[in-house]
Amino acid sequence: MLLEIKDINVFYGKIHALKNVSLQVAKGEIVTIVGANGAGKSTLMWTLAGVLKARDGSIIYKDRPLPSFAHDVAASGIILVPERRRLYANLTVRENLIMGAFLRNDINEVKKDLEFIYGLFPILKERSNQYAGTLSGGEQQMAAIARGLMSRPEILLLDEPSLGLSPLYTSEVFKTIRQIRDKGTTILLAEQNAHKALEMANRAYVLETGRIVLSGTGRELLANPAVQEAYLGVRHKVI
C-alpha cells in the first residue's frame, strides 16, 4: 500500500471529527470518499496534508510515518488541492502555478510541465497574466488542480473539486482527474457529487459523522441500496 491509515482520531478542540478512521490507497488508484457536509471529508484531507494532527492511530506513507509538518508532507509527494480552491488571489495565474512548483529546482522540467498544463487547460494559458482572483469558479478549479499538478505529486488529494461548478464544468473536471490518473498519479478524491465520483473510483469509502460506514469498489457502492438512498437520490421505499 502506498498510503495506509489506521484507526486515526482527529479532534477540533472538543469536537471529535474523525473516529477510528482506517483506509488504504494503492499506487495508481482513484480512491473516492463520499459523505455529506460535516461528515469529516475535509478534516481527513487536512490531516493527510499534515496541517491537522491525528491524536492517535497511524498514517503510514511509503512504509514511513507521515512527516509532521505540512511542508515536509508536500515534499514527500502528497499534495492537497483544498476545498474552495484557495488560489492566491493576489498573484497571477502563472505565479500560482509556479508556487505549485516551489519545491522543485529543475527549471527546465518546470517549464515543460507549465507547457503541458497549458495544453491540458488552454484557458489558463489565455489568462496566465491575470490575477487568479478574477477567474470564474470553474477556471479557478482548473487552476487549483493545475497548481497541484505542478508539484508532480505521487498522491493528489482532491477535496470537493466539483463544488459550486456547473454540470458542464463538473464533467470537465472529472475527465481531467481521469487523465491525471492515467498519467500515473494516485488520486484520493473527496466528493459530495457521489454518482460521478463513485463511477470512476477503483475503491470507495462512505464517511458519515466521522466514521467510515461502508467501503468497497466504486461499482459495489453504486449498487448499494443504502448509498443509493443517501447519496444518489434513489428511493426504495414507497411512500
Binding site: A49, V51, F69, A70, H71, A74, A75, I79, L80, P82, R84, R86, L87, Y88, A89, N90, L91, E95, N96, I98, M99, G100, F102, L103, Y131, G133, T134, L135, S136, G137, Q140, R147, S151, G164
Partner: protein
C-alpha cells in the same frame, strides 16, 4: 527654495518609506503591527554609530555593519519573542502586545547599558551643501534619497522575480496553502524579519546621521506607521507611496507654514485617512470571486 524643500522632503520620505516597508512586510504575513520595529531601527543606529566612532571602521563598513546587525536582531526578536506564539497559533493581538513589551524592554536595556546620552555621527560628507540648479542641497539628503529608492527597488525585484519573493507574496494571502505548496513558514517568517530588520538598520543609520542617536529615537516610527496606514498596511507599494507623500507634505508644511504644526498635520492626516479611506491608498482588499 522649492527644489531644496522638495529634495529634503523626498529624502525624509525615503527614510519613512524604508521604515514603513519593514512594518508592511511583517504585517502582510503575520497581520500584526510590529511595534518593536522602531527599537530595531534605534539599535541599528547605535550599531552604526559605535562601529564608526569607537571601532573607526569607516562609513561604508559601519553602514553595512548596522544593516547586518539590525537584521540579526530582528531575527533574534522573532525567534525568541514571536515564534513561540506563532507556533501556538495565537491571535495577532497577542503578537502586537508582545511587540510592545519587546520594545519597552530593549529601550530600557539601552538606557541601562549605554545610557541616555545623545550621540551624533561624525562628519561623513566633507561638503555640507552642493549646488544644484541654484539650490543648496545637502549631500546626505541626496544620498539617503537615492539609496532608499535603490534599496526599495531591489526589494521589489526580490519579491516579484524570485521564488522566495513570490512565496512571501503568496503567504501574505494564504499561509496555510503556502505550506501545502511546500513553503516552510518558519523559514519564510525568518526571512521576512531579516528583510524588515535590514531596512530598519538602513533607516536607523540615515536617521542617526541626519539627527542624533538616542534611546527613544525609535518612536519616529510613529511616522512610518502613519505612512504605512496612508499607503495601506500590508501593501509594499503603498508603504513607499505613503512614506514619500508624508515626507514631502511634512517638509512643505514646516518650511512654508510652520515647523511647530508639522506633527499636528501628520496626525490629522492619518485620522482623515482612517475615517475616509481606512484601507489606505493601496490596502490589500482584493476581491475574490466565489
Amino acid at each position: 527654495m522649492f527644489l531644496q524643500t522638495l529634495i529634503t522632503g523626498l529624502s525624509i520620505g525615503g527614510i519613512y518609506a524604508l521604515m514603513a516597508v519593514g512594518y508592511s512586510l511583517v504585517f502582510s504575513i503575520l497581520n500584526f503591527s510590529n511595534f518593536a520595529h522602531g527599537t530595531i531601527i534605534m539599535l541599528g543606529a547605535y550599531i552604526g554609530y559605535f562601529l564608526i566612532s569607537s571601532f573607526k571602521l569607516g562609513f561604508p563598513f559601519s553602514f553595512i555593519g548596522a544593516i547586518v546587525g539590525a537584521a540579526l536582531l530582528a531575527l533574534i526578536n522573532v525567534r525568541l519573542a514571536y515564534s513561540p506564539l506563532i507556533n501556538r497559533k495565537a491571535p495577532p493581538l497577542y503578537l502586537m502586545i508582545t511587540a510592545m513589551g519587546v520594545s519597552i524592554f530593549l529601550e530600557n536595556m539601552v538606557y541601562v547599558t549605554v545610557g541616555s546620552h545623545f550621540y551624533s555621527f561624525p562628519e561623513i560628507f566633507k561638503q555640507s551643501t552642493i549646488k544644484f540648479f541654484g539650490s543648496d542641497i545637502s549631500p546626505l539628503d541626496l544620498f539617503a534619497l537615492i539609496f532608499s529608492f535603490i534599496a526599495i527597488f531591489a526589494l521589489h525585484l526580490f519579491l516579484t522575480r524570485t521564488k522566495m519573493g513570490t512565496a512571501i507574496r503568496a503567504a501574505s494571502y494564504d499561509m496555510t496553502v503556502a505550506s501545502l505548496n511546500g513553503v516552510n513558514m518558519n523559514k519564510l517568517i525568518g526571512i521576512v524579519f531579516i528583510l524588515a530588520g535590514a531596512f530598519g538598520g538602513l533607516a536607523g543609520v540615515f536617521l542617526g546621521v541626519k539627527y542624533m542617536v538616542y534611546p527613544t529615537m525609535g518612536w519616529i516610527t510613529n511616522k512610518a506607521y502613519i505612512a504605512a496606514v496612508i499607503g495601506g498596511l500590508g501593501s509594499l507599494p503603498g508603504a513607499v507611496i505613503g512614506g514619500v507623500i508624508l515626507g514631502v507634505l511634512e517638509t512643505f508644511v514646516s518650511v512654508y507654514v510652520s515647523s511647530v504644526i508639522r506633527d499636528v498635520f501628520s496626525f490629522s492626516l492619518v485620522i482623515l485617512f482612517l475615517v475616509i479611506l481606512p484601507a489606505g491608498l493601496l490596502g490589500k482588499y482584493l476581491e475574490e470571486k466565489v
